[in-house]
Structure formats: C-alpha cells, structure tokens
Amino acid sequence: MRRTSWQEYQKDIASDKYYYARSCIRQNFFPGSERAFLNILGRDLGIDIFDDPLHTSCTGIGYHSDVVPLETIMTVVARQFSLMAEAGYENFISSCITSFGIYNEVLATWKEFPETEERTRKYLKEATGRDLVKPRSIAHTSDIIFHHREAIARKAKHRLVNSHTGEPLRVVEHIGCHYAKIFPKSGIGGSEFPYVLAGMIETWGGDVVDYPERRHCCGFGFRNYLVQANRGSSVANSHKKLESMAPYKPDFIVANCPGCAMFLDKWQYAIAEMEGMTYGADGRGIPVLTYEEMAGLVLGYDPWELGMQMHQVDVEPLLDKLGVEYSPEAKYLGANGKYIGKPADVAVNCFDRRRIYEIKR
C-alpha cells in the first residue's frame, strides 16, 4: 500500500460554527491546550466556536470501565446533542478520543438498531424534557486543527525545524485507538494510515517518524490503568512503544488524545524511577505534546500559557531546538503571577544532574 492511502479516507469537516464538547481528561491534565484550541479558532482564525456551560462528561470512561450501561451513556450523549441544537449549532466537536469514539458509536448504533434510538428519545424526554436532535457532523478537535492547518501555517512564528541546524524535527505521532479503529471512516486516513497529526506535522515543517509499534495502544486500557492492581499492563504497553520508537531518536511525541499524551508522559517518569531507563537524547525523557500545544508553539504562544509546565517530562530541550523564547522564571507561577513553589526534581527531567542513568542509545 502506498503511503498516500490516507486519501482514501477523507471526511467532510465543517469549516465554521462548532459546538465544543470538552473532555474530562483534557481539562484535568491539559487545560492550557483546551484554552489554546478555543483561542486559535475563535481569536486567531475568527471562527465561531461555542463553549456551552451546560454540557457534562460523556461518561465514556465509566462506559469503558463497564460500570455505565449502554442505555445510560446513550441518553447522556443525546442530552449533549440536544444542548447543541438548542444553542443553534449542528457541528459537534469533541476534544477527546474516548468521547469521539463514544459519539460515533452511539450514532452508528442508533442507525443500525433504530429501536435503541427510540428508547433513548424516550429516556431523554422523561429525564430532561428535551428532544433529541442529531448533529449534522461530528469531528474530533484535531480534525479541526488539521482542517485549518494551512491557515495556521500562514500565521506561523515557528516551524517544526531545528533552529540551529535547519533540519526538520523528528516527530512521533500517536493517534489513539478509538480515533479510527472503531470507525475507520470517521478518522482522517482511516485506521491504517491515520493522517490527522502527520498532516499537521508535514505542513508545519517536521518529519514524521515511522516505527514498528506506531499503531500500538498507549497503554490506557481503562480498567488496566484505573485500578491500581492492573497498572502493570498499562506501563508495559507504553514501555513497548517507547522501546520501539527510541532508536529513531524522536525530538518529541505528539498525541491525538489527552489520555495518550498523559500516559506517554507519566509512564516515562515511572519507567525512569523503576528501571533507571530514559528514552530521549542525553538521558532525558522525550517531551510529549498535545497537538494544540504543537499548534500553539507554531503560532508563537508562550509555552507556560499553553500549560506545558504541567508535563512531567520537561519541554525546555524542545523549546530550545525550536528557538522558542521563554522565561524560566515564569514556568511555575500560579494565577495572578504568584510563585507557588516547584515540583520535586526527578530522574526523567532534564535539570536533574544528581543521578546517572543508562542512556538509551
């Protein structure tokens, strides 16, 4: 199959007037990414995007932990759709791969089994008095950034190149299983050649790293992470990916799903603590970015306003390569510019010089 096979899986993405559904994981771990996304669209590109104060979690983590029944999540999803319609929108965009999978699965199930849609309408009416109105389009927020990638490139302050050598940066992209493995046609490029992040990377000047475990799960596995006794499974999967990508010397990882970004970041910390192993150059971790952070850096946003201080693996080596200026003193400031102390030094961070670890290649 040719590398361009992604073009067989195109989907219609609306260009304007989006109803934004936020994600539990995104807002917990990457609130700066969320704000950057809303600013890039609303402020930089002048697009109409509505952040509704009324919607809730999709309850997807509960559903995939098998404690929230299918009928219940369908009704919660139906409520989100109704809120969208009541607000006057019809293009629903979600900021998390789990919920994107959920919204697609619910719509597909309603189509395949119409009695489930009827039952949901009834439950929704009974529980909330609302009427179900289905969206005209569903997209993931990365689809939206992909859709506007050229417009972002035209406003770029930085490109994904090493500002010292002029070489393109080497980027590992991680798509997240539920983006296209459940419904290949709902993801740009399908499940074989997902192109949503690769398209951004190429447009903004970087090189996409192809490596053996590129499509492997990040290691979330819902109950396999959420229950402490099962976390060995989660870290083993992240470990497998990190081992597989390290020989390609990536400058950074970018993830489609906030959960994947968080796991690939945090498990590098845990592996360094447990095994003394780090995967980046010079014995450091590999920075893990969200695509909103990647887009934000390209557009010249301040890394701390993007929330990159909330990562466990320090991003400064990447910022230096990109030629991004930043203030080290501003990194750990809280709201209103107050200094609130800083996290303890740990092995995976670049500023820890006290311990010597085996350097992976």
Binding site: V68, F113, K181, P184, G221, N224, L226, G232, Q312
Partner: protein, 231 residues
Amino acid sequence: MGKYFDMLAEDVRLHEGLKACMNCGVCTAVCPAAEFYNYDPRQIVAIVQTRDDEEIERLLKGEAIWYCGECMSCRPRCPRGNTPGYVIQALRTLSQKLGFFVESEKGRQQLALKRLIGDNILATGYCLTPRNILPELHPEQGAVWEWIYENDEDVYGRFSDVYRREGAGALRRIDDASMREIHRIFEVSGGNDFFDTIEQHSDRKAREMGYDGATEEYMMQTYTYNSENHY
C-alpha cells in the same frame, strides 16, 4: 442450552461484535492485553459461539473477560467483521447483572471502578476531577502531579476563570439543574440500578470473604490486590 447466549443476545453489542468467527486468531495477534495477560480473545469468541451454558458461565465467573482493555484494536482487523472487544463488553455487563463478577479477582474490581468513576460522575458530572486523583493512589503520576494537586486553585486558575465555579470554561462546576438532569438520566435509563447491583453483589461477596460488607477496606482490597496469577 443457550440460556446465557440468549441473554447476551439482548445486548446489541453482541450482534455487532459476533457474526461468525472462523477462529483465525488475528484478534489475538494484535491484542495488547493478550501480550500481557494469559488472555486469548479468539478463545472467548469461540466459546460464546458454542452457546454452551456451562462454558459461558465459566467465562462470566472467571478472570479472562476482565483482561481486555477495550482498545478495539481487534475491530478493524477481524477478517469476518467481528469485534471481540464488543463481545467482552456484553459479557462484562451480563456478568455484573447476574452477580457473577464477584467470583473473580479482576471482576471484583468493578466495585472500585463504580465508586471511583461512577460515583464521581454522579457527584460532579465528570468521570474524573483533579481532587479525586489522589497522589497516594497514583504514585506513577509523579512529582509534577503532586505539585498540581497541592496548588490546584493556582495552577488551574492560570487556564480557567471558573475552576470549581459555574460558567463556561475548563473544570467548571456543573450547575445544579444540569446535575439533576444527569441524575434523572441515570435513574430512568438503568444506570442507578446497575450501580446498585454492583454494590449489592459486592457486599454479599465481601461478607463471604470475612469483611464487614462492601466497606472502604474491601473496596481498597479489590483496587490494590494482585494475586499475580494472570500471566
């Protein structure tokens, strides 16, 4: 013969997930859980396909159905259009409805998931919130998470004007009227009944195991205990 299969067949995910399996093993080859656990999704699908009550009951009471991570990597790969991950979801739902989940170590963990995720949805409208990711339960979250956890108002205040308050923005408090709607949805759609079922069977099992019911102590046991017999 076929009693449990008929119950499974009430779940649309069984119809979507199992047409006819030819036992090729492609799902097992790509499955991340199969690589880690003594787990073989091909075999699960093959057993369900036999409709054999005894065999299916063994599955519903056993460890194997709890190993899957619901990544759905098997879905686009199956040459027959099956989705073993969906079959697993149907099995897990039935195992809980019948109270069989408490007969396995991994199944008993459903109580911890119900309390940690399920109850949090009913309390906050979110699956997770910063204040329920306790550093002592999440050592792998590292030093930066501890810093965030201890300074949450300040850290999140930099990105959201409404942290734990009503309005539009990240980590806003969900208004009471919306929360009432969520509670009603759980009530009318069977979410609350399902939660109660998990609690009741866990309580019964906890007593059988010598606990004073499904206490915090029992829940933490399900959350932390690993017999290491799974690989």
